[in-house]
Symmetry: C2
Subunit: 329 residues, 2 copies
């Protein structure tokens, strides 16, 4: 296990954004709020300009409430259809062209040819492996990494970092420092798999939800309500593992696996579960104990309850009261 605890933060001064869609504009807003200046490459300059103006209008009040960098300037940006012009002088490049492998490979190879070898190139791809992305780059392919954000990019802190086979540890550290500098939580994924980690999880839930709709069991709004009013409230503080660790009571995850492990084999769903081997049990239990960091389940409960109380009071101000279920739940 990586025990690296380096917490260096380097805020890029100039971020080049390649592709000015929803994700590209999200990166631009986040970069501006962090005090960087921004150049955006897009083949359709007028549309990208309009889109970014709109994104800034919508997002800036939130960015002000979250806290702006001293040098933050929401006019410090321009859009160009000249790639070399967009990239010139940037100390971080973020690629957000449509999710087609051949297109991304081509664009990333072009960027690689144009920017100095020590400039990090992050790709927002949600599913493609980094080694595949870097295939056509010949100059310094190791600095082409996956840096997968979540929508809205200017607010959600998670960014999944995945290096390719040519990426060294120093580049990963550079990526960590740069994305921290943009106010993010960089999660380094140690294996190249399609969908990285977060999209795997979201797709699993999405597949099951589609089965429920397909089988006529529930409507989309009922399924959404089942997420929002139940597990969703917990998931903004704790993931599945820590949640289940607490459900196991004093004995934590080990008891939970004994009690509910067999349910994995029930013929509930078309989604296949892995075999609950001793190795897997040990891995899950040890992981949860590490996460709990010596805290008892009661201590975890205290924190959870205080958080949920505040969250419920907050959520009620924004509750989807006028959605289809209004008056029925």
């Amino acid at each position: 296990m990586n025990t690296q605890t380096d917490q260096s933060v380097i805020t890029p001064e100039h971020v080049a954004i390649v592709g000015g869609g929803v994700i590209g504009c999200g990166w631009a807003v986040r970069s501006l709020a962090a005090g960087a200046r921004v150049t955006v490459f897009d083949t359709d300059v007028a549309t990208a300009e309009r889109r970014l103006k709109q994104a800034i209008d919508i997002a800036w009040p939130s960015m002000e409430k979250r806290g702006l960098a001293a040098t933050a300037d929401n006019t410090a940006w321009r859009v160009t259809d000249d790639l070399a012009d967009a990239l010139a002088g940037a100390d971080l490049v973020q690629e957000n062209v449509p999710e087609r492998t051949a297109l991304k490979q081509h664009v990333l190879a072009e960027i690689d040819a144009l920017v100095p070898k020590d400039v990090l190139i992050g790709s927002s791809t949600s599913g493609i492996k980094p080694s595949e992305l870097a295939e056509q780059a010949t100059r310094a392919p190791g600095r082409i990494v996956v840096a997968h954000p979540f929508n809205p990019v200017y607010l959600l802190p998670l960014v999944e970092i995945v290096g390719n086979t040519a990426t060294d540890e120093a580049t990963i550290e550079q990526a960590r420092a740069h994305y921290r500098g943009l106010g993010m939580k960089p999660l380094v994924v140690r294996a190249e798999i399609e969908g990285h980690i977060a999209d795997r999880l979201m797709e699993a839930l999405w597949r099951e939800a589609l089965h429920l709709v397909n089988d006529g069991v529930a409507t989309t709004e009922e399924i959404d309500a089942a997420v929002v009013y139940g597990a969703g409230l917990r998931w903004s503080l704790m993931g599945t593992f820590l949640t289940f660790h607490m459900a196991g009571g004093e004995q934590g995850m080990r008891h939970m696996l004994e009690q509910f492990g067999p349910a994995l084999k029930l013929p509930w769903t078309k989604l296949e579960a892995p075999e609950l081997t001793d190795t897997l049990i040990e891995r899950v239990v040890a992981g949860c104990e590490h996460q709990a960091a010596g805290r008892t389940v009661a201590q975890l409960e205290d924190r959870r309850d205080a958080f949920l109380t505040d969250l419920l009071n907050l959520v009620e101000r924004y509750w989807p009261e006028s959605e289809g279920l209004a008056g029925r739940i």
Copy 2:
């Protein structure tokens, strides 16, 4: 589609809790805060008493912050090992014995024999179908319904209500009114399936998470971080469907399905997706449009951003900063 908009609320005056474990104690605290008096049946009176005292100590400050009923009295409870004594005079019975079908069937039949025919009997079962639960009840099996809560029961508002084949609409309405009276959001599930809705979704995510640990891709804490810092923050306001509707931009879910539908067939995972038929597409798109209730994606974005800004400020006060990933993310 059910267009029922009845919002009647009936707060039970006396709730009988059968089984004084974590879930039973959660129901007791919620009932006390709503102003009801509580009797708890448990074969081990001393342990159940200790557990409930502890639950009240932990939870009451949160209940005070959430708002207590005028008649709320956190001493208005007692534990007994005499089932008839526990049930006498109750206007709502909540069963929370261990998740074994035969045991629940037996206990529910006993309760059915003891309480007047018009008293609702809710079972906290997380996975068993209500018709199976009511199999041995002979007196008024229709009033035995699934009423599945989420931990911590005293804070999370979701309760899934599922009737059995003998349950009439009036009983479902009675259940809605009673659980609303306990401050909850009753989601009526129209089909009897194992795992109801919410646990199906949670299990899907859980299976994929176990695959990731099993394949050595990520640790439990990395997976939890991928939930908390990304999708989890959104899930306390919006479920998967509305989230993906917004990801589709101006055209919403239809565009989303065109763009990302094919990814469902990628060989990412062992979890099998349903065929994206025209019927399924229409059902999902219509569902999302109903949920959006005429609001544009931009309006949904405004609400989401304002919520996320407040939530991020809140979460930072509770962030799992000392968990294993501290210093590494």
